[in-house]
Amino acid sequence: MGVGIEVRGLNAWYGKNQSLNSIDMTVPANHVTAVIGPSGCGKSTYVRCLNRMHETIPEAHAEGSVKVGEMDVYGSATDPVEVRRRIGMVFQKPNPFPTMSIYGNVAAGLKLNGFRNRRQMDELVERSLKLAALWEEVKDDLHKKSGASLSGGQQQRLCIARSLAVEPEVLLMDEPASALDPISTSKIEELIFQLKQHYTVVIVTHNMQQAARVAEFTGFFLMGSLIEYDKTEKIFTTPADKRTEDYITGRFG
């Protein structure tokens, strides 16, 4: 089951440049929350702060409070590796491990964390591929084909399956469909809709229609600040802030 996320006073920097200004946000469990905004507004940085991926970039750091369920993400005793194990991430460009088979890709998170039970691993791989709606297309080639031999849309679903195999509580998606064609995109969107039964999903998108289609809640970012955060319907019909309205009506700029 998914867990909720509580963000309080989150700031992030790249070197001396501040890219997030004290963000407060409450993400409800088992819902899809979208993060929208123009390029460079800090939306990617924001989700990368939620699983402490931000700090893997040289000279980048973040401060503030992020609680994912009971876990204090920025607590002094918290291991960032453990955080990332419990908060899965799907990236903009599909990035399967090129030298591994389809099975190897999905099992990578388990194997490289010392998981040894072969039968249980087979089950988890199958379950994850089914959840990611890829099982039927690849079940005969699990060990034969490399992850890189799949099409772009299949690769992205493979990456989703890979994230699901380690059984995270939250799934972060950083523009997961922006490199895909419309058919693959609609598959991913359907998938996101299914996933919220088991996971809390936060999705970054620069496609407003996509946010409207998949998300119950939407946050609008601008220049590193969270301008407005509300039910998606409210954001897209009667936004409270003039800047949100300008952005969603395309009058921005």
Partner: protein, 284 residues
């Protein structure tokens, strides 16, 4: 629509293609010439005795280089055990952790070491190991060749790891895989084809080295499998035989050269075949 392409464009196209083809052929010519010449000169002296017997006393006809063939294998094994892990290890450091002044220093040192003449490395190892142990040895020969392998392997490993896209590392971090595990099981594995090529280049390069072995392995007319005793090596044997006044030894020098080339090519090919086969299998 051929009529749409001007004469000048067709000419330059053919000209450039012809240039590229002749350049490729020119590269192959010396390689083939050496091999064919060795074959002609050496094949006549390659026989069972050559491959199974030790050298005869000077002036006597017959005997072989069996001890040198085994000695070369022994010295190269020592060199690889020493040079490959150290080279790959420092390459990993340079690529994944070495974006700083210390990394620059290591990188500079490796490049300088790469340029040090092999005979100087031989003398250094002579001073450091042979004099202390008070005798020449297979071990000191292996150390000298191993040192020569390190910079090539290190820089090749670094370059190959830097070519692994960062999104691959991020994918691993995102799964909660620790950095050391990511480096070994994801980055290094993704770069493995290139790293193996680097290792084979270094191996092939030192396999035929003679100068660093003159004061270390020293050479031996008899069987020796002990690491702390003087050991024969094909390159040393070829050198000794080639400068000798005996006709039979000259022939054997050619045969030794041929065997050395065949062994190097064979080793490189064997590694290539086994690793390319294991690539996807190991993945599942």
């Amino acid at each position: 629509m051929p009529q749409g392409i001007s004469l000048w464009r067709r000419l330059t196209n053919h000209g450039a293609t012809a240039f590229a083809v002749s350049a490729a052929v020119l590269v192959l010519v010396p390689l083939l010439a050496i091999f064919v010449y060795l074959l002609i000169k050496g094949i006549g002296s390659v026989n069972i005795a050559f491959l199974t017997r030790t050298p005869q006393p000077p002036g006597e006809v017959g005997g072989g280089m069996a001890n040198a063939i085994v000695g070369t294998g022994l010295i190269l094994a020592i060199a690889s055990v020493l040079g490959l892990p150290l080279g790959i290890g420092s390459g990993i450091y340079l690529a994944e952790y070495g974006r700083n002044r210390f990394g620059d220093l290591i990188r500079f040192t490796a490049d300088v070491l790469n340029g040090v003449p092999s005979i100087v490395i031989g003398i250094a190892v002579y001073g450091l190991i042979v004099i202390r142990q008070k005798h020449f040895s297979a071990f000191s020969g292996g150390v000298a060749l191993g040192i020569m392998m390190i910079p090539t392997v290190a820089r090749a490993t670094e370059e190959m790891l830097l070519m692994v896209p960062n999104v691959i590392r991020e994918a691993a971090y995102g799964l909660g895989i620790p950095k050391w595990r990511t480096t070994l099981s994801v980055s290094l594995r993704t770069a493995s084809a290139g790293v193996i090529t680097g290792c084979m280049l270094a191996f092939a390069r030192v396999a035929g080295e003679t100068a660093p072995l003159l004061f270390t392995a020293f050479g031996n007319q008899f069987w020796n499998l002990k690491l702390n005793q003087p050991t024969a090596a094909l390159s040393l044997q070829v050198y000794t035989y080639a400068i000798s006044p005996y006709d039979d030894w000259h022939k054997q020098a050619w045969a030794g050269s041929l065997i050395l080339i065949i062994l190097i090519v064979g080793a490189v090919a064997a590694v290539r075949i086994t690793t390319s086969r294991g690539m996807m299998k190991g993945a599942s």
